[in-house]
C-alpha cells in the first residue's frame, strides 16, 4: 500500500511519465518543533493586595540541568509581570516581542500605557496565531498585574492558544503538584481578599519546595515576583528552598522494586 497521500489517485508513471519531482516530493509544510532548552513550572496566586508568582532558575537541556541562572519572570511595562515556562529560545523571542511592544507604546507619551490585561490579550493572539500556522511558540505563560477596576489580574495562555484565568494557576508540573496546594487557600474568585502577603508567600515557598522534591527537572533556587494593586513590582531573586528533608531517600534504592 502506498502511504503517501500525494500518490493516491495519481496516474501511473509508466503510462503518463514521471511526475515533476518538485511537486512530487514536496510534503506539507510542518514547523512543529520539539523544545530544546526548557524551563519548568511557573506558579502564581492572587492575594489581597495583588499577585505573587514564582519560577525556578533552571534551564534544562533534556535531563541535563544545563543553566542554573535563567530568570523566567519578566517585568513588562510598569505594572505587569510575565512568567514563562517551556522552550527558552521561544521565551527569549517573547521577551523581545514584549520589549518592542513597550517601546512602541511609549512613543506617544500620551498618558496611555499597556497594562496586564492588554499584554495578556496581545500574547494570547500571538500564541493562538502561531498555533494556527502549526508553528507554535512552545511555552506556557502566566500574566499577572491588575485589572482596570483595580483588582488583581492573573491569566494563563499556552502553545495551543488555550486561555484561562483563576485565583491560582501553575504551568507544567505545577499544575499537578502546586495548584491543589494553592487552591487550599485560593480556589474561588474572591478568595484572594482573605489572603495576606505572608500567607501567599508561605504557600508559594511550600509549593516550590514540593516541586523540587518531586519534579525531576526543577531547581531549589528560584525567583519570587510580587505585583501589587498599587502598581508596585518587586522581583526577589536567589530565593532557596529551606528546611527540606531528604532523609526519606536514605534507604531507597532504585525506583520501586529494586532491593540493592
Amino acid at each position: 500500500m502506498d502511504h503517501m497521500p500525494e500518490n493516491w489517485g495519481r496516474p501511473r508513471s509508466e503510462i503518463y511519465g514521471v511526475y515533476n519531482s518538485a511537486i512530487h516530493n514536496a510534503g506539507p509544510a510542518t514547523h512543529t518543533q520539539q523544545p530544546s532548552i526548557t524551563g519548568t513550572s511557573v506558579i502564581a496566586l492572587k492575594y489581597n493586595k495583588g499577585v505573587m508568582l514564582a519560577a525556578d532558575n533552571l534551564a534544562s537541556y533534556g535531563s541535563l540541568a544545563r543553566f542554573t541562572d535563567q530568570e523566567r519572570l519578566i517585568k513588562v511595562g510598569k505594572e505587569t509581570v510575565v512568567g514563562i515556562s517551556g522552550d527558552v529560545s521561544d521565551m527569549q523571542y517573547i521577551e523581545l516581542l514584549l520589549e518592542r511592544l513597550i517601546i512602541e507604546d511609549n512613543y506617544e507619551q500620551d498618558g496611555h500605557n499597556l497594562r496586564a490585561p492588554h499584554i495578556y490579550e496581545y500574547l494570547s493572539r500571538v500564541m493562538y496565531n502561531r498555533r494556527s500556522k502549526v508553528d507554535p511558540l512552545w511555552n506556557a505563560i502566566l500574566v499577572a498585574g491588575k485589572k482596570d477596576d483595580g483588582s488583581p489580574f492573573l491569566a494563563y495562555v499556552d502553545l495551543l492558544g488555550v486561555t484561562y484565568s483563576s485565583p491560582s494557576i501553575a504551568t507544567g508540573f505545577g499544575a499537578y503538584l502546586a495548584v491543589p496546594l494553592l487552591r487550599k487557600i485560593a480556589s474561588d474568585d474572591g478568595d484572594e481578599k482573605k489572603i495576606t502577603e505572608e500567607q501567599a508567600r508561605a504557600a508559594i515557598d511550600e509549593c516550590m519546595k514540593v516541586l523540587f522534591y518531586r519534579d525531576a527537572r526543577s531547581l531549589d533556587k528560584y525567583s519570587v515576583a510580587t505585583v501589587t494593586t498599587d502598581g508596585e513590582v518587586t522581583i526577589e531573586q536567589n530565593v532557596r528552598c529551606k528546611d527540606m528533608s531528604w532523609r526519606f531517600a536514605e534507604h531507597i534504592h532504585g525506583y520501586g522494586t529494586q532491593k540493592m
Partner: protein, 280 residues
Amino acid sequence: MFRNSYDNDSITYSPTGRLFQVEYALEAIKQGSASVGLVSKTHAVVVALKRSAEELGSYQKKIIRIDDHLGIALAGLAPDARVLSNFMRQQAMSSRMIYNRPIPISRVVSAIGDKAQRNTQTYGRRPYGVGLLVAGFDETGPHLFEFQPSGTVLEYFGAAIGARSQSARTYLERNFDQFPEASLEDLVLHGLRALRDTLAQDKELLAQNTSIGIVGLDTKFTLYDNDDVRGWLEKLGNVGSTRGRRPPEEREPEATEDAPVTDAPPPEETDTVEPIETDA
C-alpha cells in the same frame, strides 16, 4: 498671479512655501455645512447641520459612530469621510481585538493624521477633502480633536468647521469657560446655539437637518437624528437664524454678555449677531 502654476500636484511647493493642493482641500471643507464640537469634564458633544441636495432628497449624514467610545462629525467631501471613518473603525477594532482595550482617541487621530499627510507627499494622490471633529472618551477623559487634510490634528475645548463656521467659533470663544462644568444638557445647548449661528439667512434648525452625537464616561457614543432631536430643539427654543435681521424687541441689543446657562433658554438670549460670512 502665479498662484496657479504651483498647484498641479500635491508634492510641489510654491515659492512662498505653500502647498496649494492642501489649501484647496481646505476650501472644500468650507463648502460643506457646519459641524460643531465641544467638551466638558464629563462629555464630548458634536452637533452638525445636515444639507439635502434637493427638497425631496435625503439629508447627508454628518455624524458617524466609530466605536462605543468614539464618533466623528464631518464637513466637506462625504465620501472621503467614509473612507477615513472605515479606517478609524478598523483601527478601533484592531485595538480591541489585539489589546482588549478601546483605542485611545489621540492614537486613532494620529493614525488618520499620518494617513492624510501621506497624501500630501505622494505623487499622483490628492489630499482628503474633508475635515473631521473627532469626539471621544478614553482613560484620560473626554476629548475633541479637529482633523484637517494637511494631517494636522489638534485638540480643542470647542471647534467648528464648514460653511460660516466662524460664527460658531465666535460663540464658542465667548462661552468656553462655561463648558468644563456644564451639565450634558447645557453642553448640547451650547453646541446647538453655536450651530444656529452658522445658519444662512431665514434658515432654521429642524429635526431633519440637525444631528447630535454624545459620548461620555457612562454614555456610549449615541447619535440623535430626526425625531430624537426634537426634544433638544424644544429646549433650545429659538431655532431660527439671526443673520441679516435686527434682533427682535425682547432681545437686549448689542449685549456682549455670555449666553446664560439655564435649563430653559430664555427668549432674551444675548448672542450677538455676527457679520455675515460670504458664501463661497
